[in-house]
Symmetry: D2
Subunit: 345 residues, 4 copies
């Protein structure tokens, strides 16, 4: 069965990736694209400055861009992807859901709201149940589902495996993030060539809160956030794609590096069209994963881990994921596949 979908904010960097992924998708048919008022009325080809390596799909190129407004989106669209700036998302996403649309959103607004599920399908698919709470509380027919920030998505699958095996007590993480995470024009070349920037505004807090919500327990009424301490330090470095992270973990029970590797390698995978198999690829080589070599594992949807070792401060490991695929557009897509499987659309 084909699901008719639209993309809100279709001309941006994540929007373009979504179109690249949705166009050949076996289950989804793209029927609507929206953008800001200045772009509305133009062809998608004209409105989007296409940046993705593969060429712009011909049929999408000729679609007319609509305004990002429920009145401008056909009623028979079943599902909307949203990759809007968070300030815009905050304003318009509720309007769409109120009109009955199901929205799979990558925007950072509302991610930690009590009644908005924040989901990585392989990790906490059961949090989808929060949609019922959301509908009850807000009187909505549609649904609003969020995926987390790209840097959070990278570390949560291996952390979830460790949590399942030995319980998480304290997590310390330093990130080495690619420039594409800031959008096409987010980092100038003068800022980053021969340089690194040890701060990404708001990113540390997102990693600290979103990870605890994702690893929390849903009891049918609310999500009890995981009570581990999480502290993050975020750095931008001169890589194009792929966030690399150094993680230290204090666990409740002892966990050897080998047992942790085993837990990660065998951690849950799903049978959705875009699910990688395995979810977490574990390297034995101490100098892997590396962004350029490993970001395309599982067609950009896998997480890579490596460098597992015991330290005086617990388990240490490194992890990596493709920030605009697994970490953004692919995350929204996988959430949409989960919504379809669970018959929310």
């Amino acid at each position: 069965m084909t699901v008719r979908v639209g993309v809100l904010g279709a001309t941006g960097a994540v929007g373009q990736r979504l179109i690249q992924l949705v166009d050949p998708h076996p289950q989804f048919e793209l029927v609507a694209v929206t953008a800001s008022d200045e772009s509305a009325g133009k062809s998608y080809r004209e409105a989007a400055k296409w940046r993705v390596e593969s060429p712009i799909p011909d049929d999408v190129a000729e679609m007319t861009v609509g305004r990002t407004d429920p009145a401008d989106v056909p009623d028979d669209v079943d599902l909307l992807f949203s990759s809007l700036p968070s300030s815009v998302g905050e304003a318009v996403e509720p309007a769409f859901v109120e009109e009955g649309y199901v929205v799979s959103s990558n925007s950072s607004n509302a991610r930690t709201d009590d009644d908005v599920p924040l989901v990585i399908p392989e990790v906490n698919a059961d949090h989808l149940g929060l949609i019922e709470v959301q509908r009850d509380r807000r009187g909505w027919d549609g649904a609003l589902l969020k995926n987390p920030n790209c840097s959070t998505i990278t570390m949560v699958p291996p952390l979830a495996a460790v949590d399942e095996a030995a319980g998480l007590d304290r997590v310390t993480v330093a990130t080495l993030q690619a420039v594409s995470g800031a959008g096409y024009s987010g980092v100038t070349s003068m800022e980053i060539i021969d340089n690194a920037i040890p701060h990404i505004g708001g990113e540390e807090l997102k990693m600290e809160s979103e990870s605890r919500k994702l690893l929390g327990e849903f009891d049918g009424a609310e999500v009890h956030w995981h009570d581990a301490d999480v502290a993050a330090s975020c750095n931008r470095i001169p890589t194009l794609d792929g966030h690399l992270e150094n993680v230290w973990v204090d666990t409740v029970e002892d966990l050897s590096p080998d047992a942790a590797a085993e837990a990660m390698a065998s951690y849950s995978s799903l049978d959705l069209p875009s699910s990688p198999e395995p979810l977490v690829h574990v390297f034995k080589e101490p100098d892997r994963p590396q962004p350029r070599l490993d970001r395309m594992l599982g067609e950009g949807m896998a997480v890579a881990a490596g460098g597992l070792r015991e330290t005086t401060e617990g388990l240490q490991f490194n992890c990596l994921a493709h920030n605009t695929l697994r970490g953004a557009a692919g995350a929204s897509l996988l959430n949409a596949e989960l919504l379809a499987e669970e018959e929310y659309v």
Copy 2:
């Protein structure tokens, strides 16, 4: 009074930096350069593939390179700098000291030996007293003094300030290290363009042990290593010079970010020719220090710190130093200046 000096391993990357620093030095006069047997007998210009931005000093260019052997170094040399590969240093440094030479060494061998002082002058100048122990034990007339690894030097001054103010309990550090730290040919362009490497062989252990020795107490007979837990994760990134580090610190007593900043900014400085003033430059801007912008603070001899904030896991801050100046050649030079001030030469 002029000190006559020589450089062992003068043609390598650190050796060249040493020559750049020693040549205009008010106190030192360069009279001997040595290298491997293949280079011996050539002019320095011919033997060294000069890589430093400033031109090769004319007088040094015409010096004849000697073999790295006590027999090939004039007796009236007062002090030797050593930037030999550690396997070579291990073999020949003791031979020179036995002959009565005072050696300021950047090589990694013997740094954690009981009777070898490992010194950052502003941090633990008193460890120089270990030279008496060394002479007693080994029957040497000369002296062997070491400076630490470049990534260790970067974090120890701010850590020492925090230790003095509130006591260190646990230190976690992730590094973003420049390619020059691996020597001129250590990292190929194919390895590092659009990439990062989450492992530098042996570097984690050096940071964990050397920092504890540097922060330890010398009681006149031995150095009692600091008992803080230190865990490091080392990454290579595409920067040319300047190691950036993210540090988390659990302190024994409470220490606010403001108090920590104050402790760092006012931390000990010395009156040696190459000492920067201040030693630690503290930035208020959360996105500083950055390698390209800040590595030349204090003519490459200062340490920069910034991003101080309180987390659920204690104090977090970032620090930076120029790895081949403050972290290698400049470190040996400063140690030599200390040796001269303390009349070991």
Copy 3:
């Protein structure tokens, strides 16, 4: 019909690419790999430090590496690929051909020898006839076929199209070459980050001579080199793959940019398994081709051209090709496919 092939110099950068391309090839079956004497006897997995993004093929990984000597290669091998250093190639390639092997070589030795065909299949397949001259003159049973240098391959297809349309009189070319062209360790990161190097030893001469031989005429007995003046200036820049070139052409007859674009876009293509269609992809956008965006056109086997305009000095255009695919391993592969088609194996 399957052709049994071997790779001489299989552990190097081009050798690895060859194995990546030959392993899934419909026509070729890899049965022998050779390397230097130190590697002989090891498994290929052990001997090669595998650098290609796709994993090392399992069956190849377990092959035993032989010495690069006719005595160490099975007699029933039909065709050998050679990606040896030119000094080695000069010594051993004739020995293999003398023993009857047909060799498709990427090594730079012998490329401009009178009786050695230098071929880009789409451009001068007829030069293959030189093999008869070679056999007559040298008394060989086998055959030695060369592909040109990577920077030459990039410009020759569009130049051939222009030559066919209007006759070449004078060609001036400046290259912006990727670091992979120098092999895995050829360019250190210290040399090239935030830098460019305006000289590549020997490369200018290769472009000037090889292009004239490729564009020359074979009269059944010898190749009459094209008499156009060709002058090249070669630069190394911080890109990983893809050589970009700025070309100016004085033509014998007038040729408008539009007519030149048309000539390039419709230039000869072949029906070999690895031939791209079209051979030359012509961009209308003035800022294309770009290395990162366009190097994988035609699975890395196409040449891209763009920026065609008329200047006071004739036609100007830019061109680009993937230097280790179309420019090296893929070039040898295509030559081997031509040899098979023409029944030399």
Copy 4:
């Protein structure tokens, strides 16, 4: 005698460089800074996002930014530097000159106007005489003087030396330009990491026309442009500062590479405060100049040349200059020093 100066467009990239250069200048005293209307009224510290490595001068930091309007600039300012966007420069520069100000401008507007001198002091200081023509024709009391584009400045000094020695007939040039040439935000990191862009809008035409005007002859009434053919192709590459150029020259008379090197090395230099000595630094090493190693020659005000060789298409050489120092802010400064020496202020 001190000259009181102001900077129009003081908050931009070139404006900041100008302030860095003017602040310690022995002859100039900075008394006014202007910017766009939004910045007017703020302190310079607040209005400028300071990007230069050396800290913002304290006295300048506290200056109040004025509007870029003659009414907002004190009458006793003797000389104005202009680094305005060309569309703004076109509108306001004449208004300032009409009010009697002498303007040394880096903006690209009006550079090829008949009565506007375009000057590199060491090359064509006599073109300053065009100011009289300008004053006559326009009824101005002030004066408008332009420096050329950064990529033009790089090649013109060595070309002028060759022209003087043997006469220029045809010039072909390919550039490898640094990202700072496009301003602080002109090139995003996503555009240029692992990439090159073979087109810079309008740059080719600037090089072709400005170089011919600079090398032209002023007969007291007008400048007769040089009649050499000049063709340029401009590329952006991942370097921070320093434009590298490959140049081919057909000369009227024969000129050996050695004679050309001698002509360049001994080419005119001036005794202005910011003049380098020599103007053109000629390298014997074939792989120099290189941007990172050589851009700071002569404190960023020299031009470097190298790689001189004879080709079938005449003389070939490479040249390099620091694009924001010798190529922009330093060029305007040198022109201002010339105006002071020639008593136009």
